[in-house]
Subunit: 175 residues, 2 copies
């Protein structure tokens, strides 16, 4: 599957690197979509450096089968750009898999797609989500149809495991 | 007046340093309250380094006349600690001045004190606030009774100006 990984600087290094490697290892194609094409993207721990392969001015949701949102400070940067919010919402409109960890659900909150959904997130974002009508559960991973969410770096193995299951079960016809 | 400045690492350097200096210059006493006493607190730009003069385990709201919340990534760290959230709420219970800039209002959102208030904040936090019933205004500074809020570093002069006015007008008897 073609996965869009939306990313800006100061992401949580492990929450990008480990799922990214695992999805690729499963044969999926992952494209890093940033605010500008070519922008250098360093993690908040300074352990990982990558760059945006596509800018949000060029990326179209139709080019992708799934969306992956790593955590850290990146999601709050991304949701300041209305094009990124619109891009995100399109994956929900088409019921495509969305995989978000830690602060990733901040982008979903701005996209107005969290009400009534069963989700988890970083502890402070759990509270924001509960205030806008999300059914929040404090556990390592929560799967609600094609939406997979996790809380923090220690949840990465569970996040990868359930994300891969959701990516596998999407019918071939919709890819 | 005795002002509590709640602060953790990765705050926006200028949003701490400039109001902190201006309040002290006006004769106010400012105490940095952190998650642990003595914790070294470096700004996200790396330009300012300070430390917590008191820890949240020792600080009591009765010791202070006003609350100052600088922005950056600090407020999201602070609101993960229920003691910091309770400390914040006490200033609203007693109608004491609260001065919050940029991401500072995230702490107020977790403290459940933003509904029906007229406020501003960093652009992404404006959207969160609007989803929970805050009357959000996109301008450099908003004063609602004893609550002063601003959006970003370029608003610092207006934030300092209105904060000082609010600190001055609080009757001596309540200090």
């Amino acid at each position: 599957m073609r996965i869009a990984c939306v990313l800006d600087v100061d992401y949580e290094d492990s929450e990008f690197k480990q799922p990214y490697a695992a999805f690729k290892n499963q044969g999926h194609q992952v494209t890093i979509v940033g605010l500008q094409s070519g922008k250098v993207l360093r993690g908040k721990q300074g352990k990982v450096v990558t760059k945006a392969e596509a800018g949000i001015d060029q990326a179209r949701p139709e080019q992708f089968d799934a969306l992956f949102i790593p955590g850290g400070y990146s999601p709050d940067h991304l949701r300041a750009d209305p094009r990124m919010v619109k891009f995100t919402r399109a994956f929900f409109d088409d019921d495509k898999p969305v995989l978000a960890i830690c602060h990733g659900p901040q982008l979903l909150m701005t996209a107005r797609v969290v009400k009534g959904r069963k989700m988890t997130a970083w502890i402070t974002i759990q509270d924001d989500l509960s205030q806008v009508g999300t059914n929040v559960v404090d556990q390592d991973v929560v799967v609600d149809k094609n939406l997979v969410t996790s809380r923090q770096p220690s949840d990465i193995p569970a996040f990868i495991r359930e994300s891969i299951k959701v990516l596998e079960k999407v019918p071939v016809g919709t890819r």
